[in-house]
C-alpha cells in the first residue's frame, strides 16, 4: 500500500540528518559548535551567535507537554482515516520545541507539563516518525 500522508521534504537538505537519526530511533537537534546553543528546526547558521559550524546531536527524547490539539478535519487525504487525531507540542529536556503526535490512542489524561518520552514509528521502509507517549 502506498503511504498517503506527507513525507519529509526531500529537498530540505538541512533536515536530512534529523530523519537519518530518526531511522536509527534517535531524536536529534542541531547544536552550535561555538556557543553550544541547541535548536530545532535546523538553521544554516546558529540563530544565537551566527556561527556556521553546527553538529546534529542525539538527545534524550524526554520532554514535557506544552499543548495539544485534536484535528476533526483533515487537510491531507492520508489523515482522513485517523480522524479525529491529535498533535502535541513538546519542550525537549534539552530546550527546543517539537510538534509531533502521541503514539497510539489519545492519552486518557492530558495536562500542561506532563512528562513525555519519544518513541519511533516506522511509517515506510525509508521513513521513521518520532512520536511521544505520556510517561
Amino acid at each position: 500500500m502506498t503511504y498517503s500522508k506527507p513525507l519529509p521534504q526531500a529537498d530540505d537538505l538541512l533536515m536530512q540528518p534529523f530523519w537519518e537519526h530518526a531511522r536509527a530511533h534517535r531524536l536529534s537537534i542541531q547544536r552550535c559548535d561555538d556557543c553550544g546553543d541547541g535548536h530545532f528546526p535546523p538553521s544554516p547558521v546558529c540563530p544565537h551567535c551566527l556561527s556556521e559550524e553546527q553538529t546534529w546531536e542525539p538527545v534524550s527524547g524526554r520532554g514535557t507537554l506544552l499543548s495539544w490539539v485534536t484535528f476533526h478535519r483533515a487537510y491531507w487525504g492520508g489523515f482522513i482515516p485517523d480522524l479525529p487525531y491529535q498533535c502535541c507540542l513538546v519542550r525537549l529536556a534539552e530546550g527546543p520545541l517539537i510538534v509531533a503526535n502521541f503514539a497510539g490512542d489519545k492519552p486518557a489524561h492530558l495536562a500542561e507539563g506532563l512528562p513525555v518520552r519519544a518513541v519511533f514509528h516506522e511509517m515506510t521502509e525509508h521513513f521513521t516518525l518520532p512520536k511521544f507517549i505520556v510517561e
Binding site: 500522508k5 519529509p8 521534504q9 499543548s67 485534536t70 478535519r73 483533515a74 487537510y75 498533535c87
Partner: protein, 389 residues
C-alpha cells in the same frame, strides 16, 4: 527602543471603498466568478476615489496588497506614481504615513483584491497558500499539523490551561461579532448566534469551533490616505487622522511556535502598544472601539490583554462579564470582522475604523466614537494603528 513620535497626525484617511461582498458572495456560491482579484480591487478603488472627492490623477503614491501584482494594478488603474509599494493592510497604512511624512508622495491609494473563494485558495494542507514562506506548515506536515487554524488552536489550548479562560468565554467573540454583523449591511453572516449555538457547533481543530474560523470570500478594499494638510483642503468628508502607529516583530523561534506558545505574542504587543500610545499621546482608556485582526477568534483575547484593555489573566471574565459587543464595555470588531463580515485580511477592519470615527456606523455606530485602535498579530508581527478625529 526609540520612541517614534513623528508620524502622529501626519496623514489622514479621506476615502474608503469596498466591493459588494454580499452580492458577489451570492454569485460565487451560485458558481459564477464575478471578478478576479484585480477586478475587485479596481471596483473598491473607484468607490474610494468617489468617497474622497478627488480625481484619479491627484494620486501620486500607490500601494497594492500582497495578492496582486504591483505593476499590473498600476497599469489597470492608469497610475504612474512617484512612489509605490506592496504590503499587507496594516503595513501599507504605516508605509503610506512614512511616504507622506518624507515627501515621497502626498496622495496615496491603497488597493487590495482577493478572489480566494472563487479561486479555491487553500489555507491548510498540500496547497496551502504561502506554505513555503511560513515554514511551520512544512516542518510539521509529516505529523499532520498543517493548517493555520491548528497553530492558533495549539496556542489557545495552552492559554486556557495556564489562565483558566474557557471555550465558552472564547465564544463571546463569535457571538459579539455576529451581533455586529447583523447590524452591518456589508456583512455576509447576519444570523444571530448564542453561546449555546457556539458550544454546540462542531470542532475544526479542537479546542477551536467552526465559529472561531474566519470566512473565505471574494472582495476588494481601497483606501485613500493623504497628508493632513491636503486632507483639510480637499476631502469631501471629515478626514480621519492617524494618531499613532506601532510595530514589533517576534521572529525568533517562530517555526517552533515559541513566540505564540510560550509568550502568546505578549512582549511584541506590549512594545508595539508602548510605541503607538506614546506617539498618539493616548492610552487604552481613551479608545472607544477596537478592531482586531481575527483570522481566528482567539486573536481577540490575546490582544485585549496584550494592549492593556484588561488585566493579565482576566480576559475570559472580561469578555463574558464586561463585554466586547456594542452593548458591552469595549466594542470589538464592530463591523463583524473576519468571522462574520468579510475576510479581507485586515483591510475591512481599516474601513470599519474609519466609518466609526466618521460616525457612519449606522445601527452599529459606537456613541461619541473619537478613537479606534486597530491591531494585528499575523505571523508574529504585532502592528497597531490608532485612527481618530
Amino acid at each position: 527602543m526609540a520612541i517614534v513620535k513623528s508620524l502622529s497626525k501626519v496623514a489622514a484617511v479621506i476615502g474608503i471603498g469596498e466591493s459588494d461582498y454580499v452580492g458577489d458572495h451570492a454569485r460565487v456560491r451560485a458558481g459564477e466568478r464575478p471578478h478576479d482579484s484585480y477586478g475587485y480591487a479596481a471596483i473598491a478603488f473607484n468607490k474610494a476615489l468617489k468617497d474622497a472627492g478627488i480625481e484619479r490623477d491627484d494620486i501620486d503614491g500607490l500601494i497594492v496588497g500582497p495578492t496582486i501584482a504591483y505593476e499590473r494594478m498600476g497599469e489597470l488603474l492608469g497610475i504612474n506614481p512617484t512612489w509605490g509599494s506592496q504590503a499587507d493592510a496594516m503595513l501599507s497604512v504605516i508605509e503610506a504615513c512614512m511616504a507622506i511624512q518624507t515627501g515621497m508622495a502626498e496622495v496615496v491609494a491603497l488597493v487590495y483584491g482577493n478572489d480566494q473563494r472563487s479561486a479555491a485558495i487553500q489555507y491548510g494542507g498540500p496547497e496551502a497558500m504561502g506554505g513555503n514562506m511560513f515554514l511551520s506548515y512544512i516542518y510539521h506536515a509529516p505529523w499532520g499539523f498543517t493548517s493555520q487554524g491548528a497553530l492558533y488552536a495549539m496556542m489557545f489550548q495552552r492559554f486556557m490551561a495556564l489562565t483558566g479562560c474557557t471555550e465558552a468565554q472564547l465564544g463571546e467573540v463569535a457571538v459579539a461579532q455576529r451581533l455586529h454583523a447583523s447590524l452591518n449591511p456589508h456583512a455576509l453572516m447576519k444570523k444571530l448566534i448564542t453561546i449555546e449555538d457556539y458550544m454546540a457547533s462542531r470542532y475544526i481543530c479542537e479546542p477551536l469551533h467552526l465559529f472561531d474560523y474566519c470566512l473565505i470570500n471574494d472582495g476588494g478594499v481601497a483606501l485613500i490616505i493623504t497628508s493632513a494638510d491636503y486632507a483639510k483642503r480637499n476631502a469631501k468628508k471629515k478626514p480621519v487622522l492617524i494618531h499613532g502607529v506601532g510595530r514589533y516583530d517576534a521572529n525568533k523561534g517562530a517555526t517552533s511556535l515559541e513566540p505564540r506558545l510560550l509568550d502568546f505574542y505578549r512582549p511584541a504587543q506590549e512594545r508595539c502598544a508602548e510605541q503607538m500610545f506614546n506617539m498618539a499621546g493616548l492610552g487604552p482608556k481613551d479608545i472607544d472601539a477596537v478592531q482586531i485582526y481575527d483570522s481566528f477568534s482567539c486573536h481577540v483575547p490575546l490582544a485585549l490583554e496584550g494592549y492593556g484593555y484588561c488585566a493579565t489573566g482576566d480576559v475570559g471574565r472580561f469578555m463574558a462579564e464586561e463585554g466586547i459587543s456594542l452593548k458591552g464595555k469595549l466594542p470589538v470588531n464592530t463591523g463583524g470582522g473576519h468571522l462574520s463580515e468579510t475576510y479581507m485580511q485586515g483591510w475591512n477592519h481599516q474601513v470599519e475604523a474609519v466609518r466609526q470615527v466618521r460616525g457612519e456606523g449606522l445601527g452599529r455606530q459606537v456613541e461619541n466614537c473619537r478613537f479606534v485602535h486597530y491591531n494585528s498579530d499575523v505571523a508574529g508581527k504585532a502592528v497597531s494603528i490608532i485612527y481618530g478625529s
